[in-house]
Amino acid sequence: MRRAALIALPFMWLLALFLVPFLIVAKISLSDIALAIPPYTPTLDLSRGWEGITDWVTGLDFENYIFLTTDSLYWKAYLSSLQIAVLSTLMTLAVGYPIAYAMSRAADEWRPTLLMLVILPFWTSFLIRVYSWKAILAQEGFLNQLLLSIGIISEPLTILNTNIAVYIGIVYTYLPFMVLPLYAALEKLDDSLLEAAEDLGCSRMKAFWLITVPLSKQGIIAGSFLVFIPVMGEFVIPTLLGGSDTLMIGKVLWEEFFSNRDWPVASSVAIILLAILIIPIVLFIKNEEKQWESEV
């Protein structure tokens, strides 16, 4: 009996506040925009009985999805989000792997401190860490001041409000999400495997590619998903660091909802984004479960 209650409580919560909301989004994505409160039509009117339900069903259509395919803004935004997400995941992996590797090779008494140094930014406000780059990358910002004063450049560089700033912001804020799973995987690596490989005539580079990388596969997968999936829908970074030509779907959705007040179109943008992300999300959850099962 207690077991049933224990299951039911979180289960009901998630059904009501996670699954049902998605069904509502799906339904509104099939509605039309209207000058009313709420600003869409048709609304389900149960007081009119059966007629109310049939009117509601016949009022739904795929018009918004057709609209999304005809206006190039949307598919360009999806493609550009995909490009930014893929490239920045690879960059974060390239920056994060050497850090995680060096942490896992460090002396035992150093590791807790190093781990703390990675976790600390992770606990610090995301918004503030994105904001901190504004003052650094601006036209009259610290980076330009530094480069000008040592004479590397003669004209200030324009970085803020471009896609370069967006990439820097993503790599910076998502780096701990990449380093932590990589470190967890690399820490378990048995040194004797590498020694054996070297004894058998492998160069260190070859041993790294043949042993270290494959054995840290789960960390690479987990870290990449933890970066790729949220970045696809990122809103804060492109808004604060990107320019007017930075197209990302999270920003489009936000503007559609808050500026244009077009709830049906915003909902269909969300549904398509979800459809794109559903496979990576399922793969991510599977990967996590596999990891736990291997530990049992």
Binding site: I28, R105, I128, L273
Partner: protein, 270 residues
Amino acid sequence: MRRISWFNATSLTLGFAFLYIPMLVLVIYSFNANKLVTVWAGFSTRWYGELFRNEAFLDAAWVTLRVALVSSTLATVLGTAAAYVLVRGGKFYGRTLFSGMLYAPLVMPDVILGLSLLLLFISIGLDRGMMTIVLAHTTFSMAFVAVVVTSRLVAFDRSLEEAARDLGCTRWDAFRSVTLPIISPAVISGWLLGFTLSLDDLVIASFTSGPSATTLPIKIFSAVRLGVSPEINALSAILIGIVTVGVITTSLISKRAIMKRIAEENRADT
């Protein structure tokens, strides 16, 4: 002890420089007397003073703190129950759906979660305010609590629970007197994680808050959207300071606990 190679030392130095220089610059320049944030004009605590006289920021901070306290506590209860059920509960109808719903918010983009929750609140006619933010934050913090607690649950020896059951404990007694003390570090870190996530969240709070409740991230975002502001630098420095003190304290405490355990094990060996 292994000697650290020059390559590893370089990657650590560069990596940590990259992680810390932006925050350091922000903290240093929060003491800049100049209104132009990037031009140094001498040391001053002027912006801290202005920040504490700004009622709107203080109100928002108070709202944020209350939302974080309530939502992380709810999330800890629900997330721990969910993790326990998934690891120990065996098979039950809808298990895959359950774990899918539980873990999806870990990576789900905030804009989707925010939009869907807002549309739910509107369709059931719930007025937007602190309550709706709490409901929203609990839902996504739950996932993080569940992950942290799950990793602890799979790691610990199940026979301890079984021994308690054999000795006549009910399932609930065994949970309370054996399982809970063992997983409590994970439950506490889950709570802390939920608390910070709630303090930090901008996107979901923007969707689910109403005019009656503005959180600190919403205020910060509207202040920095168009440029840098010295008051926000002061606020950022305070928040960075709190987190630094908190993280260092907890890691010192856990380090002492580990040392104590090692010392006890050594004593037991001799």
